[in-house]
């Protein structure tokens, strides 16, 4: 177990370093000369030269890369020219809001998706089953930014039940997290349904039914435990997805999270913040994957570190 986790953690570190390098390549190499960007196109050549020297841009690219990687590893992502302070501090400041959003979305997905899938598995092919499978197909096709807008229109503007922006107090987290969760409720329900149908044909379920266990207990005590593993796997991945997908939903709802910060920063060419935000999201994404791997081995005795 320990060696397995160590190997996976090593792979995660390599991938994270690769991701940071990728951001470096896109941000530093593609957009042309940052000095011209800072000073504007009319700057005198000696001004540009002095700025280039200040930022170390006159050195060869591999030296800039190594310096940059060294700074990043020490947690120094540079300063945001727009917000003043350190880029990483500004990002971490916004991170809890995104985490709250993603966590509530995960909760909603489980609370709605799991019972729905179980209900579908009880009567496969009946109306509830068809509605859920169609709904999951359409739910995943509807663009999340539009779903968010519609929810604002219905629940904030027309019914006036819930606030639409973060200024509206604690309840404001509900609409964005529902928007985030909605496409995945049907998806999780499908997954649970298929798992439950597969398990439902097994001997232990028949035994439970034969000894007179009620249908609800069969489903939620016996079957649920056996389909927990694949569900835990996807829930971990889902949390990572929510953190990443939150970018668009946060813009729709003006939610003060890491995603809206990043979109603001990229339209203002504040690359230090962009990089800090991307690294934060990517590292948490990778960490969640690692956690899922560890959790699967811990939960299922049939999986050993060798065959996982």
């Amino acid at each position: 177990m320990g060696r397995f986790l160590l190997r996976r953690a090593g792979q995660a570190v390599v991938v994270a370093l690769g991701a940071i390098s990728l951001v470096f390549v896109v941000v530093r190499v593609v957009p042309g000369d940052p000095a011209t960007l800072i000073l504007g196109p009319d700057a005198a050549p000696d001004q540009i030269a002095s700025v280039r020297a200040d930022f170390g841009l006159d050195r060869p690219l591999w030296q800039q890369y190594l310096t940059h990687m060294g700074e990043v590893l020490r947690g120094d992502f540079g300063d945001s020219w727009r917000l003043g302070g350190g880029a990483m501090a500004a990002t971490l400041d916004r991170f809890p809001a995104t985490l709250a959003l993603a966590a509530l979305a995960l909760l909603i997905t489980i609370a709605a998706g799991f019972p729905l899938g179980m209900a579908c598995a009880r009567r496969p092919g009946r109306i509830a089953d068809l509605v859920v499978s169609t709904g999951s197909l359409v739910g995943q096709a509807l663009p999340s930014f539009w779903v968010g807008i519609v929810l604002i229109l219905i629940f904030a503007r027309t019914l006036n039940w819930l606030p639409s922006t973060a200024g509206g107090g604690a309840l404001a987290v509900i609409l964005p997290s529902v928007t985030l969760a909605l496409p995945f409720v049907g998806w999780l329900a499908r997954l649970v349904r298929n798992g439950a149908l597969e398990e439902g044909a097994k001997d232990y379920v028949r035994t439970a039914r034969a000894k007179g266990t009620g249908e609800t207990a069969v489903m939620y005590v016996h079957v649920a435990r056996n389909i927990a593993l694949p569900v835990v796997t996807v829930l971990g991945l889902l949390m990572g997805n929510f953190i990443a997908n939150a970018v668009i939903v946060e813009v729709v709802f003006s939610w003060p999270g890491i995603g809206s910060l990043m979109v603001d920063a990229i339209t203002n060419r504040d690359y230090a913040v962009v990089e800090a935000a991307i690294v934060t999201i990517t590292v948490s994404y990778i960490a969640l994957n690692l956690l899922v791997d560890a959790l699967c081995v811990a939960l299922d005795p049939r999986l050993t570190p060798e065959n996982a």
Partner: protein
């Protein structure tokens, strides 16, 4: 039970009923194909019939509801937007952008992925190691982040959005092709060809490539839908299509401020996008089942 029960009749060969049924497209796939055909037709012919002018303004006719009659006697079937442009024309122009971006992305990303996947799967060794590691790093990234980063750095234009999406998508194609190439490489007819003295290029194109088409095609259908959503999302954020072209995502964004008074501006393009993406998904599923009957289970 004293007597032995008669043996059950031997089931008829699958070709009689199940086999042909499995090979036929289900009805819902035909609906999906019809939606897609309509979409392609709209993208090709629509802008010719209803030209879209990005800078036109017609203030007396702004925010008209769907079906309203304009001053010149024509009917705005889908209403007009905040500066009086016909929503139908905007939608048709957006469908062309959507189609062009999706096709160009899967063609470019698919071609890059095909070459990379063939090289990695067939040659193996360090080629495979390098390409697979690059792919791993890229997949560790949530693709929407990479797309926002590249699109933001490059600036809004149709070419840039295709570059952005192709860069974020090629890995998927490469993985699919690599898996097929890897499996095919070990087969006996490839060994035979090698023994007969065929060169690498001949083996790749005559023997390995034909086995990669089918999974590549299935991956392509799935990616077309995802690419369209990604383009709309980037345009919604203002990082995709420039303001002088119409995009469904940008139109949804523009309609946000008029939700209370003119719901159709945001809703029409979103519904169009959802219909096309659902259709792509349905057709893609049907193709996958046709290609591999075992996948139905």
């Amino acid at each position: 039970m004293s007597t032995i029960a008669p043996a059950p009749p031997v089931p008829a060969p699958a070709t009689a009923s199940g086999g042909t049924g499995r090979r036929r497209l289900p009805a819902i796939a035909w609906v999906g194909l019809a939606v897609l055909a309509l979409f392609v037709l709209a993208a090709l012919a629509g802008p010719l019939l209803r030209p879209y002018d990005p800078v036109a303004t017609d203030l007396p006719h702004r925010l008209l509801a769907p079906g309203a009659r304009l001053g010149d006697g024509s009917v705005a079937w889908l209403g007009t937007d905040q500066v009086g442009r016909d929503m139908l024309a905007t939608l048709l122009a957006g469908s062309r952008v959507s189609l062009v971006v999706a096709l160009a992305t899967v063609v470019i990303g698919g071609a890059v992925g095909l070459v990379a996947g063939l090289a990695a799967g067939y040659f193996g060794g360090w080629t495979d190691t390098v390409l697979s590691r690059i792919g791993d790093v890229q997949l560790a990234f949530p693709s929407i982040l990479l797309a926002i980063l590249i699109a933001g750095v490059l600036g809004p234009s149709i070419t840039n959005i295709v570059i952005t999406l192709a860069v974020t998508r090629w890995v998927i194609f490469a993985r699919v092709v690599r898996a097929s190439a890897l499996a095919t490489r070990e087969l006996e007819f490839v060994d035979s060809a090698r023994v007969l003295g065929a060169g690498h290029l001949r083996i790749l194109f005559r023997h390995v490539l034909p086995n990669c088409w089918q999974p590549l095609l299935v991956a392509t259908t799935v990616q077309i839908g995802l690419t369209m959503v990604a383009e709309a999302s980037l345009s919604f954020l203002g990082l995709g299509i420039p303001p002088d072209a119409a995009s469904w995502g940008a139109t949804v964004s523009a309609g946000r401020d008029y939700l209370g008074s003119a719901w159709w501006i945001s809703t029409m393009p979103a519904l169009a996008l959802a219909a096309v993406v659902t259709a792509v998904g349905v057709v893609g599923d049907a193709f996958r089942d046709l290609a591999d009957p075992r996948a139905q289970l």
